[in-house]
Amino acid sequence: MSIKKDHEVIIIGAGPTALTAAIYTTREDIETLLFERGAIGGLAAVTDHIDNYPGFADGVDGLVLADQMRKQAERFGAVIELGEVTKIDAGKSSVKLETTSGDVTAKALLIATGSDYKKVGVPGEKEFFARGVHYCATCDGAFYRDKRLVVVGGGNSAVQEAVFLTRFASHIDLLVRGDHFRASDVLQEELKKHKDKITVHMNTTTDEIVGEDNKVVKVIGTDKLTGKKVDFPTDGVFVFVGLMPNTQFLKGCGLELDEIGFIKTDENLMTNLKGVFAAGDVRHGATMQIASATGEGATVALRIREYIEGHKVINE
């Protein structure tokens, strides 16, 4: 089924930044189409429980928060197309996009594609992807009832997801490369409540994921203090070692990225391409928090409105 060709605003992504921006634009009667190739709600939707988003005294499940944001945006008329943008071309008066749903144009484009979990980059990781190596605990944790797991990482995601995985796993080895956690104090306290199931290994690198008979059987790491190799017998590995921006599809379009691939913007959240804005986790300098993502969504929507209405000439 083909979709309408010409739009006022197109947003690539449907995470918290994108949905907030859509709430703001559509409430101003600015017609808005979103493209989402993955989960509506982005990484927030695949997070088990969110405790630091304002307005929820007892926290909120990521899936519930994502669904509420979607409903709110759709209530004001936002349309979410399940499809992928493959190419953008910023012209003088509009932005052209090639998508899996056909070619479309927009007066203004917001790139809010967020970020995804990074690979740890060791032998065995690619070979056992989804067959013992995972990046989504809420998706794949249920396959490890009464099994041993290794979780790699020391940040908020690693600690939170390790705690979530105690619902299923009999034991978890948490491998932290550094000598301290980057996770919040609150999450570290939560981790301590599960010390019967989670063993923390600080100063431990993850070197190789080893399988036998098509199954993961162990992770080989190195104790950085002694230099000795250590085996961690396991049935599966969950990796949470940071985030990488979802900007691969933008290569060659002339958009200015930083050395990692995050999008550079000016103070109005506009990129170096006229009419193309970026906000949220995909933006250089983003703080990777849902609360700041929604804040950036509101800000960029106001900037887009100004741009469309021509009240303020930006980037000329």
């Binding site: 190739r37 993955g38 989960a39 509506i40 709600g41 939707a45 695949v46 088990d48 499940d61 990521g62 899936l63 994502a66 669904d67 399940l82 499809g83 992928e84 899996t100 989804a130 067959r131 013992g132 995972h134 989504c136 809420t138 998706c139 794949d140 944790g141 249920a142 396959f143 490890y144 009832r145 599966g236």
Partner: protein
């Protein structure tokens, strides 16, 4: 032509929601097998997909041939039901 569709899901899987949303938007019905409620069918999902993940979508055609799609993969799901 699609004869029937089965989706293996869990309670917390956001990509499972997306598969269901996509199929509903295209007017397809489906049987959902929730592995949190039916853990005994986990091996079935694993055997079909060769993976330890959900969603697993099994599209059975009129000639009883089956296509198994792992994850929310629109590039495979859309043609499988078209």
């Amino acid at each position: 032509m699609v004869k029937n569709i089965t989706i293996f899901t869990t309670n917390t899987c956001a990509y499972c929601v997306m598969v269901k949303k996509y199929l509903s938007s295209k007017g397809f019905g489906y049987e959902e097998v929730n592995l949190d409620q039916n853990p005994e069918r986990q091996a079935e999902a694993q055997n079909l997909s060769g993976a330890l993940t959900v969603p697993v979508t099994v599209v059975t055609k009129e000639d009883d041939s089956q296509e198994v799609i792992v994850g929310f993969n629109l590039g495979r799901l859309a043609p499988a039901v078209s």
